[in-house]
Symmetry: C2
Subunit: 343 residues, 2 copies
């Protein structure tokens, strides 16, 4: 299997599409027409449709030297499903477009699609369309995700209120440290090709960067508790950047407590190894794909029972700005140091 290399030119465009989509079985009643026509058709039966799109570019968003194609396929879907969840919607379909150079074999594409289909399976999502073409250089992935939401139950970034509690799911900072570790091991390997990567004991942080999950479970938990967040966003660029989006768009300030920011022991240990501050990794690292949301104070009792949700601060009048209260008792303004693809 690993030695086989089938040139994509041997199939042609339509042959390739047939090959990559032949096993699709639509899972959602709303997927009326899938791959194979000019467009796909969906019917959300009285629900509103939520839609989001993301582009991932080799050398900018991922490095194939340490990113298994299966994981890349999985992650390409997840980052889009995470956006749908952040609107309080249930993801139902995706469209996936790829451009790749001729260094890609059919076997490589198959590996990528294994990850895509694994994510679709896990989240109950149908692949209903896309485009495949060549690129002059590099692998480019464009994914569009679609979801459904009960009319007017979607949640924006701009609707939080002063006094609301600031909450985040899961834990933060691990993905950034996983990326830092993989980059370090790559550089060591490039200088000494004989040295094997040392990822011993770092499974958690590596998994967080290579195989993130979308927090559909948090959306379902909140619904089961009858809690409707007042604003929500997913943590892709780092906690600071996302907090500032909510504050700016909702016209509020905020107080964030450093001691409340959820960071696992594995993440802390990795940060110390790299001489980094764990809180800085959580604030500016990004790629955690957790959900940051605000709730009315009276909903506190309903969410406190979840070990997967941390209350990390509250929203204030806009004039007070956005601040972090450190463990040492200091206050600093929160600044966006999120990831910028243009730097």
């Amino acid at each position: 299997m690993e030695n086989q290399r089938t040139e994509i030119t041997s199939l042609g465009e339509f042959g390739l599409i047939d090959h990559l989509t032949k096993n699709i079985e639509l899972q959602n009643a709303s997927s009326i027409v899938g791959v194979g026509d000019d467009g796909a058709v969906i019917d959300h039966f009285g629900k509103q449709t939520v839609i989001s799109t993301d582009m991932l570019v080799e050398g900018v968003h991922f490095d194939l030297m340490y990113t298994p194609l299966r994981h890349l396929g999985y992650k390409s879907v997840i980052v889009n499903l995470s956006d749908i969840c952040a609107m309080n919607a249930t993801p139902t379909q995706i469209l996936l477009s790829l451009a790749f150079s001729n260094r890609f074999s059919l076997e490589a594409l198959d590996e990528f699609y294994e990850g895509v289909y694994a994510a679709c399976q896990r989240y109950g999502v149908d692949l209903i369309g896309g485009d495949t073409t060549t690129s002059q250089k590099g692998f480019i992935i464009s994914c569009t995700a679609i979801g459904e939401v009960t009319p007017d139950k979607f949640i924006k970034r701009s609707t939080a209120n002063v006094g609301d509690l600031l909450c985040v799911s899961g834990d933060l900072g691990a993905a950034f440290l996983g990326l830092t570790l993989l980059e370090r091991e790559k550089n060591i390997f490039l200088e000494n090709p004989g040295v094997q990567p040392d990822l011993e004991g770092e499974q958690y942080i590596v998994q967080r960067i290579l195989k993130p999950e979308a927090r559909k479970d948090i959306i379902e938990f909140l619904q089961s508790q009858n809690v409707t967040p007042t604003a929500m966003i997913d943590v892709s660029d780092g906690l600071s950047s996302e907090i500032l989006h909510i504050c700016k768009q909702s016209d509020t300030g905020c107080v964030l407590y450093e001691e409340k920011v959820p960071i696992t022991e594995d993440t802390r240990n990795a940060a110390f190894k790299f001489n980094m501050d764990p809180t800085a990794c959580a604030l500016s690292g990004g790629e955690d794909y957790e959900l940051l949301f605000t709730i009315r104070p009276e909903d506190y009792d309903k969410i406190v029972i979840s070990e997967d949700i941390s209350v990390i601060g509250y929203l204030t009048e806009p004039e007070l700005g956005a601040h972090i209260h450190t463990k040492g008792g200091n206050q600093f303004p929160i600044t966006a140091q999120g990831w910028n693809a243009f730097k």
Copy 2:
């Protein structure tokens, strides 16, 4: 204006998005939430949603040496709206993702978006989302278009019947000849940079490749005549390729009459200049973005009043295969020589 160059890094990702989207005014009642959140929200009020996506890659699908950015922006939208029309739906929204290298200035992007917004304006479509990022090389455009259709009134490729008439809108072959001309002038220029391109009298074929339109008017005409095509597809890869898609997916054969294939005088003249057969350009050229559709014979009287629709053949039993009857009285099998990005 032309001398100004603003580096995109000076704005950052969010500044760039704000700049490019600041003048958007949503035109459709179905566009509930547009740009600026994790996802967009649409509500098609009891209609079904049609969705399609396409990727355009510099050096594969377009050449910036002779493609004005404004036209490229326009065309990027049109090719997707054409797919929505080919499903018998009305386009309502688009999402647009771009990856570009740092040789692009803000002024260049603005020019591209001028074309995008011109297409949105003309077709009554809202830009509701997207992604902007950097590429290592070249300009990559991924557009997703959304439309709405009365439940179960969408038209697939697979539902034509034996005996149906084969129809096509507008005229064919011009876009391919326009591309051939632009490629020739480019090569002359590269060899003799002093020579100015000679496009005299070739406005029509050049316009067809650089600034195509989506045949929303044909969809509206058919609806006004109460004609529901039995199958439909847009002509992006060439007439032959699209006919074979309908025949294969509908399990029919077909007879195509060469003399009925609509080709303008301008296109014929250009073909003769290049020593090409005009019919071959129509069959295999592609990028015409006309609509190819089938109708029941009894609907013939309702469409014959349109000068913009040609009846070019009819569907037969599948065993008879797909054939073209030439002006000279010969019959040849139709073969797909449509455009293949992987060659």
